[in-house]
Amino acid sequence: MSASKISRDHEAWTVLHKFVERYVHFNDAEFRAWQSFFEIRTFDKKQSVISVGEQEEYINIVVSGLARKYANLERGEVTMQIAPEGHMIHAEWSFHKRVPSSVIVETIEPTTFIAISHKNWQALLDKHPKAEHMSRLFVTEMFIIKDRRYYDMVQKSTREVFLDYIKSHPHMLQRVPQKYLASYLNIQPETFSRLKHLLKTSGTKSI
């Protein structure tokens, strides 16, 4: 095994451990038992993780890199999620309802995921009550975040949406192509450029 693979694996398990510890606590033996259910998936940049019409088989947690979820519409692409390190991304409707995906998940940067397949997830839930508890807490949190995001997007002005996002995700402006960010925040590309320019020249306070 190469040194880089060992360090990548180590990083993946660390990310998983941190992710899971947000919801449940367990000892080393318990964590090792969980590890066997997970796998590491690597993708180049701009590579498809799941396409329209495919069955989603995975829950992916980003170890390193960046991925996005989007829909391909007549009027163009609409980005629905941008997932950096430590975030989960997959086609959730397809995964849970067991139907072909209507969305696309694609990497933006070369990306490593720590992932669990649908089959292994079911097995983990059956075998470990803590996995059931964790999944309940996790999906509750996702649900709350989704609702908050929707509510904020409706209530806030374009300017507030832009500034709040940049403040809470300071590195995304460098890492994510502008058109994806604009689409994700539902801001016209021209408006997004203007806000970004204002931010550069005058900082967050005077926008």
Binding site: A71, M80, E92, T140, F143, D147
Partner: protein, 196 residues
Amino acid sequence: MENALRQLLDKYLVLSDEDLMLINNQLEFREFPRRTLIVREGETENYLSFVVSGILRKYFYKGRQEVITQLASEGTFISSSVSFFSAMPSQYFIETLEPVTLLSLSRESLHKLYIQIPKMEKLARLIITDLYLQKEKWEQDAITLSIKERFSRFVDDYPELLKRVPQKYIASYLNIKPETFSRLKHSLNHSTAVTA
């Protein structure tokens, strides 16, 4: 009533009679006349409710404009769910549109059931996943479908609601201008008359 509950929960997982009894013991029947606000913005939602009869709407204010995010009828859940699960103040209002009967589970009772019933974690996880997916789908439809598609999908999926819910509320739920909604509804009536 137990039958309706069993039917609902069977969709998620099969429970023993004992477990079902334990859940049943924690449920409260709640009845409201039409046009009652059962949750207001700023209050904490204490219940996750199953609609036994009647229709409710869930909405919030954007400035002075109401934005309806859910129309709930018999056999579905209604709650200011984020407030219920987080115990934070509700950002939504919930109002009855008809006389309504609910079968409600309080947050306190839910926590009791987590202790009493081992399968409760799983049941809750499946229900919350469903709520999450519904929200995902509603948002996705709003982005991906055209106005006409949103309208015809609603007509196909919820013919009952089209009859029972005031038009302006359905228009708000589908994020369609009231005039456009009238036009679409008119063309629907017209085309069914022609085909019939």
